[in-house]
């Protein structure tokens, strides 16, 4: 650390740092920003081998960034585009599909009289743009995305969500006779960009038709994950996956899971980030 011109202490300012303090702070600044920039670079879609090696091998780098909630690339993309996910591109590379979309949790709640009541959970919906809605959307988004990647974590998440729903709907006793069913459903929306091959009137008609659809209509939703949950005779919670990444409920021409057939139109969706 080369010597610097230290301003003389005056009654108008607090004491300046000593040379040793400045040296120490400078060293810590270098360490901090080195860790930060390596972490950022390593999290981007195309890190170099050096970035990856530094991120994985420099002692303390990952724990430091994890601890301070800085282990991210900060590439906040408002459209929920995920550069790491090749499935977001259509075959011809011209269409884009966001990972995070809007989700609905539909539950068949067994009743004491043996009937089934179907509800959307949570029963009391969140306010528009509330942080609670965003958080739940993120949770279900992770679950659905993991299930589409055949990751076993999807099942773990789905089971804890089902357990919570059972507690809130208080259907534990009834589930001993008839299991509770939880369907995690992705909301579908066709892309609405103007088609240059159509006339403005035709484009407007397509737009009007799209938005005239009922967002809760069964034709508008695609089941991504389904769980059956029940209590055993010993009041132990049990759950099982009924089917994963099913597209049977998808309407004709609607988008499918990333690994499935390509859609005729590109879906849009609501974001789950905040």
């Amino acid at each position: 650390m080369p010597p610097a011109q230290r301003p003389p202490p005056t009654p108008h300012t607090a004491p300046p740092p000593s040379e040793g303090t400045r040296g120490l702070i400078t060293f810590l600044l270098f360490i901090h920003f080195f860790f930060l920039l390596v972490g950022i670079k390593a999290h981007t879609g195309s890190p170099s081998a050096l970035d990856q090696d530094l991120a994985n091998k420099v002692p303390g780098l990952n724990p430091y960034l994890d601890l301070l909630a800085m282990n991210t690339d900060y590439m906040f993309d408002l459209t929920d585009y995920d550069i790491n996910n090749p499935n977001q591109f259509s075959d011809d590379g011209t269409q884009f599909r966001p990972v995070a979309t809007d989700f609905v949790v539909e539950v068949d709640v067994p009743q004491a009289d043996g009937s089934i009541q179907t509800i959307n959970w949570p029963v009391h919906p969140y306010a528009k743009a509330s942080i609670g809605r965003i958080r739940l959307n993120r949770l279900i988004s992770q679950l659905v995305v993991q299930s589409e990647l055949d990751n076993e974590n999807a099942e773990k998440l789905a089971f804890v969500v089902a357990k919570r729903i059972m507690a809130e709907t208080q259907c534990g006793e009834a589930s001993k006779r008839q299991p509770m069913t939880v369907r995690f459903r992705r909301r579908l929306l066709q892309i609405l960009l103007p088609d240059p091959t159509l006339t403005p009137e035709e484009n407007k008609r397509i737009l009007a038709e799209e938005y005239a659809r009922d967002p809760l209509s069964p034709d508008y939703l695609q089941t991504s994950f389904e769980v059956l949950a029940f209590l055993t005779a010993d009041n132990e919670f049990q759950a099982t996956t009924k089917k994963a990444a099913s597209n049977t409920a998808a309407p004709a021409g609607a988008p499918t899971s990333p690994t499935g057939p390509k859609p005729t139109a590109t879906p849009s969706g609501t974001g789950a980030s905040s």
Partner: protein, 326 residues
């Protein structure tokens, strides 16, 4: 050889002087105090919003059991909530966290509560890692750097309590290198975030480059705060708006360091983030980004904005000291 040596020597000396000026020249704590209030309110809102669903997420039958979160996120991060095994202890952790965050926002025992606020905030961040989006890391960054400087020197309960001891009060308000250090860390990190946001949009994300990204946001059901679908008939407006967002992020990260461009960029950021909040519904995130950008507003600018007397009547009078223009 001697010419080269002389050049290196002069360059080193200039760099060292610039470095010391940038990080260690004393500055007024007022901008930090303003940031403390904004960041404190944001952090209180983010943690407080868990209050309506505390047991749904963190309770004994909650949706975020420690083991599941560990498996899903692939990492273990410390959180006091991991030790809250029943509903009562979850409520205690939440209550203490809220009390700490409110004290920090008000500027009570700020040196201690700034650090405790970071711990409280990270307790919820780490446990609810899979629920976090974009606002949480930004607020975490701001809370961390506010621990470094005297953010409670003015506009705080601490300043009000110090009125009985004028000498201590005067000393606490003096421009200090800690205030500069804290502010500079926020500024540099904020500029990095803006640049990475630009980079994310330019790095192969063609919906931002072909000018249609804003329409993607407008078309999402239930997300936008106002219905902007009428812009379907105005594709050039959509293209311009999309491009404006991308280039604003680039401009902010680079030109914010220019004193002439700085006020303009701050004003544009207010407009840009308000429109983005309407467009995306991501009000906390847009607010956090705007608040982070306020780190570039100098003490003099804050004074001229609010008026000396108006703030003095609140909790503290302005320090009668020379102000270093940041």
């Amino acid at each position: 050889v001697s010419g080269s040596t002389g050049y290196i020597s002069r360059a080193s000396a200039r760099f060292a002087a610039a470095w010391n000026e940038f990080w260690f020249a004393p500055s007024d704590p007022l901008p930090l105090a303003v940031l403390r209030i904004g960041v404190g309110l944001l952090a209180t809102y983010i943690v407080g919003s868990y209050g309506f669903e505390l047991l749904r997420y963190f309770g004994p039958n909650g949706m975020l059991p420690v083991e599941t979160i560990k498996d899903v996120s692939g990492t273990t991060r410390f959180s006091f909530l991991d030790y809250a095994s029943d509903a009562a202890s979850v409520y205690v952790v939440f209550g203490v966290s809220m009390a700490v965050l409110l004290a920090f926002t008000a500027g009570l025992w700020t040196r201690v509560t700034s650090i405790l606020s970071l711990v409280a905030y990270l307790t919820f961040f780490h446990r609810a890692l899979i629920l976090t989006g974009w606002v949480e890391p930004v607020v975490a960054m701001l809370l961390l750097y506010l621990c470094v400087g005297p953010s409670g020197a003015v506009l705080s309960v601490d300043a009000w309590l110090r009125k009985k001891n004028p000498d201590a009060d005067r000393k606490a308000r003096l421009p200090s290198y800690q205030a500069t250090l804290s502010l500079r860390l926020i500024q540099v990190h904020t500029a990095i975030i803006y640049f990475m946001m630009f980079s994310g949009k330019s790095h192969g994300n063609f919906v931002w480059w072909n000018g249609n990204a804003v329409w993607w946001l407008i078309a999402r059901p239930g997300a936008t705060l106002i219905d902007l679908r009428w812009l379907y008939d105005w594709p050039y407006v959509i293209n311009f708006w999309t491009t404006a967002i991308v280039f604003f992020e680039l401009a902010f990260s680079l030109l914010i360091w220019n004193r002439t461009a700085r006020p303009l960029l701050i004003v544009v950021s207010a407009v840009m983030w308000t429109l983005t909040a309407l467009l995306t519904g991501l009000v906390p995130f847009c607010t956090a980004m705007f608040v982070a950008g306020l780190a570039f507003v100098s003490a003099e600018q804050w004074r001229s904005l609010f008026g000396k007397d108006g703030v003095a009547a609140g909790s503290a009078s302005w320090p009668a000291v020379p102000v270093v223009e940041r």
